[in-house]
Symmetry: D2
Subunit: 392 residues, 4 copies
């Protein structure tokens, strides 16, 4: 079995982008619980995100959501983030909270509303130009609730047209990343419900269009690592939205529901060449992001736990003895190959990672160090008044 020392260098530079919205309040359709200290501004969300990076060294950038994170001066925001030790990352568009989009956005049958949704993406690209963001991530809430309500074919054609117009504006060093989702908020059909649809749509656009895989957006039982493998093989895996689910799009902490699935996913990323620095030919690596909702748990430690889970599972995936695995696979040794795989999963990497962190000037136990820092008490005292940020 590969040992930790051999894989330690590969852990250098691992970066997991945090979503700004994870630091605001979130909840279900039944209730959103507020908590003391929740940010009232984009800046406060960035300050909180910076805490995660400070204690883990794993989260150097923060994704923005427009219009939730609209500010007047992005250069200033960029500077503010830099002072805090993080950068601004992916820009997420939002076409699901305007009354006009009740029956669709990029797929809307009304050309005026559809153009409005396209224009919103142009604005997002403007933001990207100002922030230096690489990726425009599009998640569409478009869909319908009742059979017959919508012409699903016409919508798909309009989607293709809308995406083409947006893609035309994408800069040479920028990417359009199209997320798919099985269902919700639409309950009969969703316009980008599966990887096949996202793949077909982005393939029609060009090299700078990629698929975003959110680990919570699949039908029950779906083999997600297979999709990871396939998209890497097809050269179209742009990014991950990591989270966990037991049922639907539960948006729980990544690795908390099925840690072994996370292991298998990251193993296929490694196997398929999607992990590590940019390839020599300039192609972009796969971007790791979180997309989670901390409905009942603390937000900053919740994000910390998440990036640590990804790091721990990456270490385990790297520990797989690939030569032994290949040999057992070639020999048709089912139990042998499975055991090589499980040996890495069952290896306890936590002590090694604590030492690894200390060597790099990070706390051995980031969760404890953060808890001891007093930051939470500080923001609870300071952030009084104002409106806590949330999804709306």
């Amino acid at each position: 079995m590969t040992d930790f020392a051999a894989i330690a260098p590969l852990l250098e530079g691992q970066a997991i982008e945090l979503p700004s919205w994870a630091f605001g309040n979130s909840g279900t359709r039944f209730k959103v619980f507020g908590t003391p200290g929740t940010p009232r501004s984009v800046e406060e969300k960035i300050a909180d995100a910076a805490q995660v990076h400070q204690y883990t060294g794993l989260a150097p950038s923060v994704a923005l959501h427009i219009p939730w994170d609209l500010v007047d001066d992005y250069a200033k925001l960029r500077e503010y983030a830099a002072e805090k030790g993080v950068s601004l990352g992916t820009v997420n568009s939002n076409t699901f909270q305007d009354d006009d989009y009740k029956f669709g956005a990029l797929t809307h049958v009304d050309e005026k509303i559809r153009q409005k949704a396209i224009d919103h993406h142009f604005e997002c690209i403007d933001v990207m130009d100002a922030t230096g963001s690489q990726d425009l991530k599009i998640w569409l809430a478009d869909g319908s609730n009742y059979p017959g309500q919508a012409d699903i074919r016409g919508r798909q054609d309009r989607l293709a047209d809308s995406l083409a117009k947006i893609y035309d504006r994408i800069g040479d060093d920028q990417r359009l990343v199209l997320e798919y989702k099985f269902f919700e908020p639409a309950f009969y059909h969703t316009d980008v419900p599966d990887w096949g649809t996202s793949y077909a749509q982005v393939s029609a656009l060009g090299d700078k269009a990629m698929v975003c895989l959110d680990t919570g957006h699949h039908a029950p039982g779906t083999n997600i690592e297979f999709i990871v493998m396939q998209l890497l093989r097809l050269g179209k895996l742009g990014s991950f939205d990591f989270n966990s689910r037991f049922y639907a799009d539960d948006d729980l902490i990544v690795g908390s529901a099925d840690p072994f699935q996370l292991f298998r996913i990251i193993f296929e990323v490694v196997r398929g060449g999607g992990y590590g620095p940019a390839n020599p030919d300039g192609t972009s690596p796969v971007a790791f992001m979180l997309d989670q909702c901390h409905n009942v748990e603390d937000k900053i430690p919740g994000q910390m736990r998440s990036v640590l889970n990804v790091q721990e599972m990456t270490a385990r995936a790297l520990l797989v003895d690939r030569d032994a695995l290949s040999a057992a696979q070639a020999a048709g040794d089912v139990l042998g190959a499975h055991q090589v795989f499980m040996d890495a999963f069952y290896t306890d990497v936590r002590a090694d990672l604590a030492a690894w962190r200390e060597e790099r000037g990070l706390p051995a136990d980031p969760m404890k160090a953060y808890a001891a820092s007093g930051y939470q008490a500080e923001i609870e005292a300071a952030r009084v008044g104002g409106t806590q940020m949330s999804w709306t």
Copy 2:
């Protein structure tokens, strides 16, 4: 095959209770769309519900949700409803929108919070006494999001204790009805996730405690008509919350996603003696209710469509030639028995029902009659200002 004339009398007196909250705004965690004319008060919700009954003759009562439908004077509300032609029905408790209930209500580890939740149910029983409602319906949002977060065994024991205290307050002519739900808003465990749990809990209480079956609260693939059969057999099916789903608890219009499933469910209700007036021995019939969210469609016609769907499917279920079915079943004639069953499902009962309605002074086409009535324009004009009612 049984003909319509033979079953027409059995359609008399069918009653489907409407949820007051269906007339307020609802939506997903992403967005709640408001609509012109939405009620700003309990009275306006009741007025809208009365429209459904006026045009269909199927919906003589309205369920209340406490605290959403809290008023100072229930006698007055009862009178108001009577003037509109409807009565007040089931009282639904709500323990999911108070900050205290973040980690549970009837199951909470903190005795003070648990007592608060019990007390809330006592208040609901007071409301029932004032309104003359028969059923106290309990749907619990209690659960947890992460493995380890909660002691699921301790919670079950506390639930039993809480329910026993509430049951003690239930009057001789009242019932406690316990709803189960697979998941949401909790995403790891739910304290009453399946019919087995609800059945075990209400069985421990006594004869006046029953199970509520919400058609959208099951795991994918669950054979719901089997549960209907079983609960009727065990004498514990208290009521239905009707709605439709494609994925999770989508709360779509009953009969819109899988009409054949609705047919099979109602057939088992009929087969098991759960349809029709109270039995001579005084046992209660099964209460039919709707529990739906009209996120994107019009609310009043949405409720109208729903009760009509239930009526149409009841007619089809009653049309099954039970003798021919039994004969084919006894003979092991798989295709023959299936065809007897399908013959009833495929029968178009709409024209017969239109005539049936006209004979009773109801419009042949309730949807058209309502649309022509001008009521919607009227409420849009009248209901300006104020706060539209919704789930919060």
Copy 3:
């Protein structure tokens, strides 16, 4: 609403191919029940299939499965079929019942076994040349049962290579049709698990390679009509394997589990131009086939019921008032559009279809006519001795 007379001409020429194996015994891993009269030869299977066509006029061709339907002289078999009134259709390959294929066929890591699987497909193409079949249908059982057992990426690359070699042999008027399946017989990963994979693989081959959609091969909750729409839009829907499911790949009679889903699927076929005679530009229409297992019901009437279900649902789908639907959709009239759709579904087309059949010299009630024919008693008496055909 469109009336039956208007759509009657569109029902002309509808053809649903029958699988030869549906007339042999089938079952589950627990038990295969034999029945009197089951065919002992390919010829007897064809004779039985011809009965279905004789009484319904809907099933003019029979699909073969190699090696189950291996004969020495295909010209003779073709002639035999013609005498019985049917033709030989799609050729299905089989790479799941040879010990060599325990760990894969077209994906096998051992080049010798992989070549054997490729060679088998060459033989199938030889059969097609002899029978005049248009389609080579490939369903792969390839997959693995345990994480780590197989290198899923390597297998995908080998699959692409194997398919390319087979595709090279396909004649100008022939097609390669690649079926996908969610799971079974492999229980961890399947090499062609979803439409996206099948689409990506056939797109790499060329214009004569298409996707086969088996209605039972999806994850729970999958919106199948969306996939139908998408594949038609992408020009890659080659054929259907029709059947029904409640749980997994149950292979029940098409239309028996969720008739409304079948309606929605056929509506999208019509909407997307996949129904009717070959297009003027010579492109092939979508082939309709059955792929079912009559484990407990009679086989010949089971197939009859199936093709009648498809015909009845096609009639309903054609009855949708497309203009009214489009108008309601454009107006954002959710309930109105849904009702237009449901009006067609709820229309009872059975009497019209009985008349339609009689006009064409077919029995009004094919099920009854077949039952009265005495054919079943005849084959039970005649087919004594020999080995009943089944999957093995």
Copy 4:
């Protein structure tokens, strides 16, 4: 965190029963692959099972399946097993492979067939008397494939009657254990589909009737540990059939698909008092059994891997710091409680267990020791000719 030394004594005496049928060939409806050395007799199956116990010390008994394991002299079989170092355990009835049971066994509408099925269980009890087995396990394949095919209510009543007759024959020290299963081999309804049905049926029988929970027999997404908790709370969890699944009833090696789920299940067994020796009041502990199919992997090492997985996960479950967990739960510390739970799951217990085994005269690595033993080569050479045992 609890350390291994503290929990080591609790691992003493852990016993996991092996199914005799796991050593015969098994497969899917598509293909059963044979393997050299497969047993041709009950004795050879027991000899193979004894190997598992010899190397792991975890599997002291073997479950029988009647009629697969019918012999003339059970006293002699018992003696043979004892010589090999194992005992005979649970007796499993089989009512799914006789033509008479095509439409049901204990639920059959034909009283003669139903009595035949009851009589079969009487014979099984006779076998139990001869073998000294404690448990009669009943898994029913009864169900139907098409809506309308069967009267599901009548079947449930007949099931109750049949079970009562069987229960009457059960001895004072014997138990009747009723297994439930979501679906398969029936594809529309199953007569004992869920824990609620099994619980209701066994509750009506008496104290010696219990529920058997097979970990692969649930709907997608079901929280199995919740059911474990509930059945223990209700005093009705009789036994486990352990295995793993990704999709349906895949019958894979326990712990291979979702190790974290196995951890959660065993934790609830421990939490609910279901683990360990019989209680002082004489109530029986929960029986652990395997029920798996080694379709593609080696059988003896497959069983070995399985019992080791159960042991390793039991050790992890015992390592949970229950005091720290309770404290965090009581404090509403979601992340803290979750981390206490995960800390135990992520602990690598393999080296400690190897040492534990060596202290007890067992090989540190049972898999390696067995592989080195030459037993497989021996049986491959010796077991030539005869008919390999399988499910049929």
